[in-house]
């Protein structure tokens, strides 16, 4: 599954734009998804994530710009299901069809051997429900079937739209492990999710969009640390410590709970300053930024990083 060094990204969006009458859903979006990585695709509701994914997969036509998967427009892939596995919110199932029938139809359409059906049912924990009509499925079971459909062709690229929706905790953990192994084996994953903690745990990179525009494309670590680390301190003498910190070149903000949030100097230095001034400390800890904070800082005006 691994790609040769220097190979083109698994997915490339170039100035991708989609207008619906007067609404610009996706606005000049450019990003890429490399092989061997999980890329989280983040944005508030209505940011244009699903529309972008549909354009990547040839289901929606861009107003302008282009999208390439494995170096080609999706429509030009010879056996698309064997190259790209996709599970989108818009992908549906006929309620009168069983999971096995659904997958058998996809196998015939996609030119895949029919013996792929049972392994993917097994892999996604759907074997016991293979002959049950989809109309009787829960959201989680439909999600698993969508994932089974995506894996049917043993692809090297996965495009998943909110794949954890409806999954139970065990399912979410399984999905996380699966995506990690898939990427470690050289596969490329583009996954949108509202569950930022899940994305933070599994993704190597994130693409953040809002109102169709790219806000950030970076590694998770770089994005999270972009706002810098802060130190949280609780003390009965906040004014004394704040003066000492400012003298040492740090910046101080006082939180609503009275705690000091200190930036620009290390936690060790804060401790030394407190000791040297004889300031009693009740709490001293690093305030590690989260992906959620970084996301909110990017997408919510006025939100501190």
């Amino acid at each position: 599954m691994s790609s040769p060094p220097g190979a083109a990204p698994a997915i490339e969006a170039s100035a991708l734009t989609k207008r619906f009458r007067s609404t610009v859903a996706v606005d000049g979006l450019t990003f890429s998804v490399p092989h061997g990585s999980v890329t989280g695709f983040l944005g508030p509701n209505g940011a244009g994530k699903t529309t972008t994914m549909r354009m990547l997969l040839g289901l929606a036509h861009p107003t302008s710009g282009s999208a390439r998967v494995l170096g080609r427009p999706y429509e030009q892939l010879e056996r698309p299901l064997a190259a790209v596995g996709a599970a989108l919110e818009t992908t549906g199932f006929h309620p009168g069809r069983t999971a096995r029938s659904h997958l058998r139809v996809l196998c015939v359409e996609g030119g895949l051997p029919a013996d792929r059906v049972d392994p993917v049912l097994e892999r996604t924990g759907m074997s016991a429900f293979a002959t049950v009509k989809v109309g009787e499925y829960s959201l989680g079971m439909r999600q698993r079937l969508a994932f089974a459909s995506a894996l049917l062709g043993d692809p090297s690229v996965l495009v998943l739209d909110e794949p954890a929706n409806g999954l139970d905790p065990a399912g979410v953990a399984w999905l996380r492990g699966f995506l990690r192994r898939f990427a470690d084996d050289g596969g490329a994953v583009l996954v949108s999710s509202h569950l930022l903690t899940e994305v933070a745990e599994v993704a190597d990179r994130v693409v953040v969009i809002d109102r169709g525009k790219l806000l950030a494309e970076d590694s998770v670590d770089a994005l999270v640390n972009a706002g810098g680390e802060s130190v949280i301190v609780r003390t009965p003498d906040p004014d004394g410590l704040a003066a000492a910190v400012r003298d040492a070149g740090g910046s101080v903000e006082v939180g609503t709970d009275g705690a000091l949030s200190i930036r620009a100097i290390s936690i060790e230095r804060v401790g030394e300053l407190a000791a040297s001034r004889g300031v009693v400390l009740h709490e001293l800890r690093r305030d590690t930024a989260t992906l959620e904070q970084a996301f909110l800082a990017l997408t919510t005006p006025g939100m501190p990083g």
Partner: protein
């Protein structure tokens, strides 16, 4: 393309709609055949030009008169095309086969195959019922080549109708609009148009091509068998092309 047609046939087989439509078509055709046979011996019916089945030609006419299959085939074919949009399965289909022209072509061919089977099965059932009815009545009418041909023609008529219905369904996407539109056209618009402007029937998608499928003689006289068949091909190609050109520009 063969694999795609196979996939479309698998889609039809993997839900129960085809069974319901088959039961409906068989029931309607069976009931109308029995009614025709029961009433054809009455003096009242004969006074109205309905004659008992005596010759092979009578039996051939019965195949066409008793057929109620086309309406069920139209509903089935339109439903299979529009179900992709109603249930959102079109996304999965286009992910597997990005060429929308190929998908619609495969659906059209698969619909025609299903229509052919429905039409032939219902027509054959009419013949079987009639032969049994006549035997019980102590009569015998030979089932000649012309009756076998009528079964084939009825199959082709339903295949044609299904091919049209698939195109209409793919173009309109809405199940309700497609079904009501097709049935409304078949039972209201065409008969009304034909009654008001008789010459318009010549080019209508159902009345105009009936000469090719043994249902009428007026158009056959105008076009001949081959001409009617050519008109049928033009209608199917036009509807297919409309559906493809619309679908190519649409998002899923």
């Amino acid at each position: 393309m063969i694999e795609l047609v196979r996939a479309e046939l698998l889609k039809v087989r993997s839900t129960r709609l085809w069974i319901g439509m088959a039961i409906g078509a068989v029931a309607l055709t069976g009931v109308s055949t029995i009614l025709f046979l029961a009433l054809s011996n009455s003096a009242n019916a004969q006074a109205n030009g309905v004659h008992p089945i005596v010759t092979t030609d009578d039996l051939r006419s019965l195949v066409f008169q008793a057929s109620g299959t086309l309406a069920f085939v139209l509903v089935l074919a339109a439903t299979t095309a529009t179900a992709e949009f109603r249930y959102g399965t079109a996304s999965g289909t286009y992910l597997a086969v990005p060429s929308r022209a190929r998908v619609i072509s495969a659906k059209t061919i698969a619909g025609a195959i299903v229509g052919l089977l429905y039409g032939m099965a219902a027509a054959a059932m009419t013949v079987v019922i009639a032969v049994i009815w006549l035997a019980v009545d102590g009569r015998s009418v030979p089932v000649g080549a012309s009756v076998i041909g009528a079964i084939g023609q009825e199959g082709l008529r339903c295949a044609y109708g299904a091919a049209l219905a698939v195109g209409v369904g793919a173009a309109l996407r809405s199940q309700l609009v497609a079904i009501l539109g097709l049935l409304g056209w078949l039972f209201i618009v065409e008969p009304l148009g034909t009654a008001l402007v008789p010459r318009s029937a010549t080019f209508m998608p159902f009345a105009g091509v009936s000469g090719a499928f043994g249902h009428a003689t007026e158009t056959a006289a105008l076009f001949g068998w081959a001409g009617s068949l050519a008109l049928a091909a033009v209608w199917v190609a036009s509807v297919w092309a409309s559906a493809v050109s619309l679908e190519r520009t649409r998002d899923v």
